[in-house]
């Protein structure tokens, strides 16, 4: 990041954005987007593809081995494992997305104001950020979700209360750097109001970095959400969620390994795909 900032500085980032716009997106970005798109498609189409109710238990057919009816077998309550893996996409992906999106909106706005106007706003934002970062953030998130009451909306609220800090720090730094460049001085001399300069001239140059951070933040949020559900605080049963499914599969590890292994693979592939998107975007922006 430091390196990118240093090379971007001389031409104020603007010429750079124009140059990279002509470059094709790297392959890893496309592969990542392709996988994420496949996940979305599978999540949406799951009920059409598989004729099973993901939440209704059927004790008589519990812990079945894979068969032509149940391709990955059934879980400890007789529910089809595959349909639960796919339905869980509808929980994990959007919740993680929103848990990264709201912090991005708030953190970017707050960081931009702090970085551009400095003085008191900057002091307040920086101290608040220091405070949040003094906590082991995910432990704090866990406790906050618990206090608010488990569930998707609590997770999103708690994540927003905590994760805005990363975006605020990033944007503040970028805006402080951009503020001192000549094109901002030029805009100021030509009489534009400060807020307009910030929004129309400074922010467009700060946003690419934010977007890259956002992509890698979604990876984190998917993992944290599933961790909290694994611990019993996040998404509550019977809703299909990968972390919860792994926790429920743990007692059957020696006899029915699929129950715990498969949801982890779903998480891992999604995580790698999102990382590829973030990495690809980063490479593209830097080149």
């Amino acid at each position: 990041m430091d390196h990118a900032a240093a090379t971007a500085a001389p031409n104020g980032g603007q010429g750079k954005a124009r140059r990279s716009a002509r470059k094709p997106l790297p392959a890893k970005f496309k592969i990542g987007v392709g996988i994420v798109f496949a996940y979305v498609l599978l999540g949406v189409l799951a009920p059409v593809l598989l004729p099973f109710d993901p939440d209704r238990s059927d004790i008589l057919s519990r812990l079945q081995e894979p068969s032509t009816a149940h391709w990955l077998g059934t879980d400890q309550l007789g529910r089809d494992l595959l349909v639960r893996l796919l339905i869980a996409i509808r929980v994990d992906l959007p919740v993680a997305f929103l848990a990264a999106f709201f912090p991005m909106v708030i953190g970017t706005a707050v960081g931009a104001i702090a970085g551009y106007f400095g003085k008191l706003p900057d002091m307040i934002v920086s101290r608040a950020a220091d405070l949040v970062q003094a906590f082991p953030v995910y432990v704090f998130l866990l406790v906050l979700v618990f206090a608010l009451g488990s569930g998707a909306s609590s997770f999103i609220i708690a994540a927003t209360a905590i994760a805005w800090v990363g975006y605020a720090r990033l944007t503040r730094g970028e805006v402080m750097r951009l503020r001192s460049l000549e094109f901002v001085a030029a805009a100021r001399v030509s009489g534009l109001p400060e807020l307009k300069i910030l929004i129309t001239h400074v922010m467009p140059n700060a946003l690419p970095q934010t977007l890259i951070y956002f992509m890698s933040d979604i990876v984190l949020m998917v993992l944290v959400l599933s961790s909290l559900s694994f611990l019993g605080v996040g998404i509550q049963p019977p809703t299909a969620e990968w972390g919860r499914m792994i926790a429920e599969g743990q007692p059957f590890l020696h006899s029915h390994w699929r129950l715990a292994v498969m949801p982890g693979l779903m998480l891992m592939v999604l995580g790698i795909a999102l990382s590829l998107v973030a990495d690809g975007l980063d490479d593209w922006y830097r080149s």
Binding site: L131, Y138, V139, L144, V219, L231, A260
Partner: protein
């Protein structure tokens, strides 16, 4: 600013931070929707029980009074009593400290070792197959949920070989070491990837510097360059990474304790959460937050000795 001045300033900054941490921990009680005392007691509890909890937790007093009481008690080392067992939070934390400390120390050492070796190897063979493989593995490592990695180690190593316990903390030094082995590996798999990324970039930048070329020209072996000259720079980065990562490390160890059923602080926290035992939750949150603050402080001071340029502007 002088060096002593930097350290004094850094120490003084910690005091308001700790005060604010205690305030946030106290505030945790108040973000509970509705009546916190009722929420903690449970829906079926009698009005007397609810009232008792309200008084025990000081919820009948105003927030400033609660805060002063809380800080006063905490400074005297009193973190309250568990609403379930009635035991003091202090004694619960003391009982649970050892496994967590073992896991944090062994896991961190293993992560540092693993990431140094891997990042040096990747940087030396930059843009080769080895480099790409190592980078690929570390992306995979970041994307795997920690508890799942733990379960995979149980499934692929502990169950087939029977050499490692899959739960508990073992008896005696050797028993602890044996019980901590797989959890520490899980820890390293979760924590190293981020360190590897930062260290690899640092190593690549270092290898491109003139003094490395000069050392090579002077006939120093690659090993000597690495150990004698680069390791010091790498150590500073590693220290910084430990400082940045200490928050995630605590969360990771909490999840690992739950996975391996280790009787540590993390497991105590998760149990307290499932029993709605608020004083214990607050106490453990506070202790971990103080720990993070002290690690940040310690690393800042240590780095200022290792690298005199840091923080003195």
């Amino acid at each position: 600013m002088s060096h002593a001045g930097f350290i004094t300033k850094r120490l003084l900054q910690t005091i308001p931070l700790m005060a604010a941490i205690m305030f946030l921990v106290l505030l945790l009680l108040h973000v509970i929707p509705g009546d916190p005392a009722r929420a903690i007691a449970g829906l079926n509890a009698s009005e007397e029980t609810v009232q008792k909890i309200r008084v025990d937790l000081g919820l009948d007093k105003s927030l400033p009074v609660q805060y002063v009481t809380y800080v006063g008690n905490a400074l005297q080392g009193d973190l309250g009593k568990s609403t379930r067992s009635g035991r003091s939070v202090n004694s619960i934390i003391a009982d649970r400290l050892a496994p967590t400390a073992w896991l944090l120390v062994c896991g961190t050492l293993l992560s540092v070792l693993l990431s140094s070796v891997v990042s040096a190897a990747a940087a030396r063979s930059k843009d080769t197959l080895l480099d790409y493989t190592l980078i690929g593995l570390s992306v995979g490592g970041i994307s795997m949920p920690t508890y799942w990695v733990g379960l995979m180690l149980i499934l692929l190593i502990a169950l087939p070989t029977g050499l490692f316990p899959i739960s508990g903390f073992g008896e005696g030094f050797i028993g602890h070491l044996n019980a901590i082995a797989l959890p520490a590996c899980t820890f390293a798999i979760a924590i190293s990837p981020v360190m590897i990324r930062a260290l690899r970039a640092k190593f690549i930048a270092l290898y491109a510097q003139d003094f490395v070329m000069m050392s090579r020209a002077a006939g120093l072996s690659e090993r000597a360059i690495l150990l004698r000259h680069l390791s010091r720079h790498a150590a500073i980065i590693l220290l910084t990474m430990v400082s940045v990562q200490v928050g995630p490390m605590i969360f990771v160890s909490l999840v690992i304790e739950k996975t391996y059923a280790m009787p540590g602080l993390g497991e105590a926290l998760v149990n307290a959460v499932s029993q709605r035992d608020f004083p214990v939750i607050q106490g453990i949150t506070l202790i971990t937050a103080f720990f993070v603050t002290f690690v940040h402080l310690g690393v800042d001071i240590l780095t200022s000795f290792l690298n005199p340029r840091v923080g003195l502007q």
